[in-house]
Symmetry: C2
């Protein structure tokens, strides 16, 4: 058995059975091994940013790492932006990166690059296999590193000779301890803060945004009067009818400062202190009021569910029903607008839908406007590197067969990784993309206005995606995804409903 | 004047008047400054890999650096693969990367990343501006670093506050010394090697592949019997009728070893020792015969033209006419094949054409088959990171107005950076792309066969771009580039000739 085969067998033994790939020459022995050893689902992406974003989406809906396969340093480099997003989402991913053979690397052949150097800023674990006999053990360690709570990125670099040389050894899975319980003192302290009755916010992040911990947080909120919020961007929120709704910290700095002004205490549950997405002249970076005290109930890598349960117990907080979000709305009619799109989404999304939200400026109200939808999950771009949405939707659909994925997708961001549509077509994934076509970087026009001065032609041209107009029906069709245009809410509703009734991907270009 | 304005004015004063951009929020003050200060041509790319590849193409045809504008670490990350290629091509580029404001960085907001860490492996110069008053001086230093022979990548990171704060100072250009003369002893030694009359190869790289140094090398070759070759991949070769043709080191290892077997001496002129692109089991990495002696006439950063002139003088090598490549061929007819495509190219390319060759496996014979074309330039993907072609063609067309750029483009590679087509349409660039559509990663199928064993479904699927077929006419049309399909040589010739007669971009999907 060569190193490559020991790698495939070790990954499978460690529970990694899905691999998003974009291979090159140095990975051919791994590709050949995938052929010989059954059981690994391989999903091809035509650009590495698709591959890494898909692995992120897969991890978010399954809670398990997929493997990726990249070609040398530059191949990994193309994956970095979405690995940055995945790192911020605490998604477990096992990157396999082929590289120059050990004896070939000193010759500085053209593709030679600093693969470890590029991997390090996004990875909690980076190792280069030294010999075939070690590949299995390193792979098992990489999977364990990826699964270590709250989840991280592990990058294993495989010089080609460690893959092709005989002497591979399959490694047993490395046990991963479960998330550590929160510090009992932190629970006592949080309870005492809540009993003071001062304005207190419980800020819930990561795994605290699943339905059950949210229900516990709601009990605590009802019992103590504390408010609940989530950070502005989150990997996955379970929400909809019967679940506890949670608002998020606002993106615009002034609005967020106002939103948070009244709180004297903030209790963090798997979240960190809320800060502005960017610094601006004369505006604060920290969003909490001066004098507000931060408390940590549980850190992201701890057992957030358990911590909330213990806190609810300590406070004697009784089970309470989730608030009633009101009846499910009917689809909106007439002109296209953000509230109307949210209303139609709430009306038509099937139960269990996975929403992937990269709607940027137009979609700020989508979340609030869909609270009365059936139970569903909401995935956001967490690291702020645009181009996450289409790949996330692709990977989520691979990880959640039988459920509809609906992408709420800004056009400028979609262009970064549009190749994902091809993978959706090839794998016949149940993804409906609502492509919000405003033909501009709308958020940047807003930011430019903030900078002051009347923008001139040069500046406006740099933020304008018209001239020529992007034709998303043609782009999707060119990659095998059926698509259609909607210019009013009636046609959006018709197309959305139809796409949810049939298998496979569909793209709706919505003129906004 | 704020830091951003001092940056724009310093770049202009230093001779940088073209900026390929993909901005974000942290770059808005730079964008506003570009508006206020006239004279900078800004070219928008809808993905950073387009921006960096275009800056490479621009540098190759003009010999001057363009600036780029990227958004934070992940924006730079998307540019890295083509920056890797540009580094290998020794292209001067000045990257401007916006980043978190100095006071905001410690808060670890979502987009915060290790921008310097990602920049370093591709950059000869990396600096982060510390304050507005220093931005001008750092920018002038960055331009000088980029222009330092043979050309390198300079990355200047601009925390947003250094752009928006008043107190910017325009810096005078930093003088760049011309390329240093080669060591006189190296010339004497090379002459003495050549006078021995043993089998000797002169390996010409970088600036030695322009028409005049090639003519000098040819004189030396005729006088001494030495052979001439170029490395397998080159940033720019001047060739065609009236110029000295130069063959390249072969890509397949066995063929290259055979090609180089007879040489007892190799004299390097701006080139490095030829090595295999990848290591393979049981094959050599170094391609020269054992016992072959390497000599350095001039290093890449030295004056290669001057070194060849001095060597020709020392040898008393007389001026000789360039070899006659024979008459210009007629366009090929009938079925599509590599030789036929080369013949049609030679028949129809206008004088002064810039060829951008990312044809990978199908196009290995294109170079040899176009020797009898009118004078033209040949640009290759030098660093091996695919996805260079469409952006290179885009930037070359920006840098060489009035000349036709013809891209010879493999489909798998084109998918990495297809967004470049939109920029071609917007800027009405004179680019004809011949999209070689074989719907597979053909080179990898070959490599997989080398690995042995009959590939099965899993492996083949990972190298297959059909299911669904990519429709390049639709993809180009979706980005505003007119396109048509050719299935035989007659229609390729018609479409190629027509596209060369009219301004603006055109894409020909050629079924191969």
């Amino acid at each position: 058995m060569n190193g490559a085969e020991s790698l495939v067998r070790t990954l499978l033994a460690s529970g990694v059975d899905t691999c998003f790939v974009n291979p090159g020459t140095s990975e051919m022995h791994f590709v050949a091994a995938l052929d010989r050893v059954g059981g690994m689902r391989c999903v091809l992406g035509l650009f590495e940013g698709v591959v890494s974003g898909a692995a992120d989406g897969y991890a978010r809906v399954t809670g398990r790492p997929a493997a990726t396969l990249f070609h040398c340093g530059p191949g990994l480099a193309n994956a970095l932006a979405n690995l940055h997003n995945a790192r911020r989402a605490q998604s477990p991913i096992v990157n396999i990166v082929g590289d120059q053979a050990t004896h070939h690397r000193p010759l500085d052949a053209p593709l030679t690059a600093d693969t470890e150097g590029w991997a390090r800023p996004v990875s909690g674990f980076v190792r280069t296999a030294a010999e075939a006999a070690r590949v299995g053990a390193e792979a098992a360690a990489a999977v364990a590193a990826a699964r270590t709570p709250p989840g991280q990125i592990a990058t294993l670099i495989l010089p080609a000779d460690t893959a092709w040389t005989e002497g591979g050894v399959v490694a047993a899975p490395v046990p991963v301890p479960p998330a550590q319980a929160a510090d009992p003192f932190a629970i006592v302290q949080a309870a005492s803060v809540l009993r003071r009755g001062e304005e207190t916010l419980i800020l819930l992040g990561g795994a605290a945004l699943r339905a059950e911990p949210l229900a516990l947080a709601h009990r605590i909120s009802v019992a103590t009067g504390a408010a609940l919020l989530a950070p502005m961007s989150n990997a996955r929120i379970e929400r909809g009818q019967g679940r506890v709704p949670v608002e998020r910290v606002f993106y615009p700095v002034d609005a967020a400062v106002k939103q948070l002004a009244r709180f004297r205490h903030v209790i963090l549950v798997g979240a960190s202190e809320p800060v502005a997405f960017f610094g601006y002249p004369g505006k604060p970076g920290r969003l909490l009021a001066p004098g507000c005290t931060l408390h940590v109930l549980a850190r992201p890598e701890q057992d957030l569910h358990g911590a909330l349960a213990a806190l609810a117990d300590d406070l004697g907080a009784k089970p309470v029903a989730a608030p009633d979000p009101g009846p499910r709305p009917e689809p909106a009619r007439g002109a296209v607008g953000p509230e109307a799109v949210a209303q139609t989404l709430a009306a038509l999304m099937p139960e269990g839908t996975v929403i992937v939200d990269e709607s940027i400026s137009f979609g700020r109200g989508f979340f609030r406007g869909t609270a009365a939808a059936p139970p569903h999950e909401w995935l956001q771009i967490v690291g702020g590197a645009i181009g996450a949405g289409l790949p996330l939707a692709t990977g989520a659909a691979v990880g959640a067969p039988g459920r509809r994925v609906i992408g709420l997708q800004a056009d400028g961001s979609a262009m970064y990784t549009l190749q994902a549509l091809w993978t959706q077509a090839r794998e016949r994934l149940d993804v409906t993309t609502i492509l919000l076509s405003n033909r501009r970087y709308a958020i940047l026009l807003h930011e430019l206005a903030n900078v002051g001065a009347n923008p001139g032609r040069t500046a406006l041209d740099m933020l304008d995606l018209s001239n020529p107009d992007l034709d998303w029906v043609a782009l999707a069709g060119g990659m095998g995804v059926e698509a259609a245009r909607a210019a009013d809410m009636e046609s959006l509703a018709d197309l959305l409903a139809a796409s949810c009734r049939r298998p496979g991907p569909f793209l709706i270009e919505l003129a906004i």
